[in-house]
Symmetry: C2
Subunit: 366 residues, 2 copies
């Protein structure tokens, strides 16, 4: 009887921080009313005391906590999840905790979940196949009600499929140029990169450098290459640098390598931080942006908008993405039949937010 | 028998993603060797196949996964944690997922944990007492091996104490001007804010504005007030603005409110992003930094160092903090007696990184 075990587990675990003791007590739930009656207090006072509100004096608070312990009172949040056989926890797995847009996504999703009485449990994978697989095992074994996953490329497709087939609601937040193994809502990063590189090519640049973050950026990489091809520019590996994190420093150092030898007139960076680090290098070298070097970033973070030279960047529509993703997960949580049907795919197409750093002249320019 | 229940739970949960089925199978652990023997493959091939390595052809991989399922093979990561009666998961609770220094702390701690075979499970509280309490309940009920908590001020002190008394290893990452209820390693934010505000006062400023993020910033607030007092400056509530998140935009809007009426000559912001947003507003208004407006931030993020006018900021020693915090948690996990002794307190004193934005003239200035 798995559920029975779960309850026993949770109770026995709660026991460790003194919440309650005997499993037998679960059936007859102790409520705040019972504590109030026991102590001759109002339910409101008990509720406040249990929340350690300063509005209740210390002595009374201690008595309430003491009686709550004696009666094996279980806080509503936990009791409710036991009764509903739901953990009320949603798992969230992302590759890089340093990736600002992934963090913003996690933050907006968490706000929307909390507004619906759910909490979020976040784990990261560093884009590693085994970490990702382990994180999925952990969240499933911890019986979360649903999972959001930023998959790195196509790794663990089989496991993702098997989890979906086990009717565990899971929404993938990345996809693009391949068939995701589960339901997904994602920005098409291939198209975003394609737009950015094409824009620079159409401004007349032929030597367009590219800085990317490795495995997690393969879609952007292929988008960059496709844009060069479609604009009759030969791909030159010399103009591409891989960095291991999205930092100003990595952008600054990459700019030094890419621009020092001359020839390059434009840069597409797979993150705004990388672009801004490169911008800083240009200024220190007396290189004018965009006149001497056109720069385009990715994610359209606040830092891009507030930069010394406002940065042209690919807009990652986080608000739209998270709203659709949470709606989809709730649909999967409430309807049982989803796994029988073909995975749902919701694609969001990124736009290019043109500012000063790319050198494009138009009324639209900010 | 709690542990037995846990195992049954985990097995029955694993069952949901098809890892294994009968509890009875747990005793006789199936190893990769068994799968290799069954299929006449090398252990190495099985290991690679289970990791879906492209070095093993698709057909073989499917056969290996099939047999692994039939034999109820449990991946080592999970099996080990069952055998050791440890979850190998460390819980991490922080107030704001948008707070860059908290995220950097989580990231560095996670790296150090992964290097030691642990994974991290992160939850956030939005500085709310009830969310914080709920997150603690959840992590304890999920039987994590230890907990890192960024407590918001003194809320939930009783619960934190009771968790410590239950011998659940927990390290607090905030503290300062009060007695923490559990073992802690923290930056003294009071002292950091005191140094920043004092520095501005000693540069001759009398009207020093302050932007802070509410409840989670109370230590910085009191540090700012103490600095004014010790420098003979009267506290003026008009010069303080509370914002609900650390964004460039909030800094920009706060600057408009604080500086428009004139009088203010210096700003201390409780986050670099707020300071940089204010910096941007000054530039748009033709106000020179530091000549017309001296600005000091907090956290000393990369964005401060790479800013158009390099930002003077309080250095939050994340590397040192996380190293000490992880060491302390491991000590608590391995030694049973810790709860009997007085909580350990390790305080780190922040330094002021002086750059151009404050107007201080010296050889040390960057």
């Amino acid at each position: 009887m798995p559920l029975q075990n779960c309850i026993e587990c949770m109770i026995s675990f709660n026991d460790r921080n003194g919440l309650t003791t005997e499993v037998s007590k679960v059936s007859k739930r102790v409520r705040q009313e019972d504590i109030a009656k026991e102590l001759g207090l109002s339910i409101n006072s008990v509720s406040l005391a249990l929340k350690n509100s300063k509005r209740i004096n210390e002595e009374t608070r201690q008595r309430v906590h003491q009686v709550a312990k004696e009666l094996n009172y279980i806080p509503n949040s936990i009791a409710r999840s036991l009764v509903e056989k739901k953990s009320k926890i949603i798992g969230f797995i992302l590759p890089k905790i340093t990736n600002p847009v992934q963090i913003e996504t996690a933050q907006l999703i968490e706000r929307k979940l909390m507004a619906n009485g759910y909490n979020m449990m976040l784990m990261t994978t560093d884009s590693d196949r085994d970490y990702e697989s382990f994180a999925l095992d952990i969240l499933v074994s911890r019986q979360v009600d649903g999972i959001f996953l930023f998959p790195t490329n196509k790794q663990n497709q089989d496991k993702i499929r098997s989890i979906r087939n086990a009717h565990i609601p899971m929404v993938l937040l990345s996809g693009g140029n391949y068939e995701p193994a589960s339901d997904s809502v994602y920005m098409n990063q291939f198209k975003g990169a394609y737009k950015a590189a094409s824009h620079l090519a159409q401004l007349g640049h032929r030597q367009i450098a590219f800085i990317h973050g490795g495995p997690a950026n393969m879609e952007k990489y292929t988008g960059y290459q496709a844009a060069l091809k479609d604009n009759g520019i030969e791909f030159d590996e010399e103009l591409v640098i891989t960095v291991d994190n999205y930092s100003y420093e990595q952008g600054y150092l990459s700019a030094a390598k890419l621009f020092s030898k001359g020839g390059v007139t434009a840069l597409f960076a797979s993150s705004d931080y990388l672009a801004l680090g490169a911008l800083r290098w240009c200024r220190e070298q007396g290189m004018r942006v965009p006149e001497d070097m056109a720069i385009v970033g990715f994610d359209d973070l606040e830092a891009a908008q507030y930069a010394e030279i406002p940065l042209t960047s690919v807009t990652y529509k986080v608000e739209e993405l998270t709203t659709l993703a949470v709606e989809l997960l709730y649909r999967l949580i409430t309807e049982e039949e989803q796994a029988k049907s073909k995975p749902i795919r919701i694609e969001i197409e990124p736009t290019l937010q043109i500012r000063s750093s790319c050198g494009y002249k138009s009324k639209n320019r900010q």
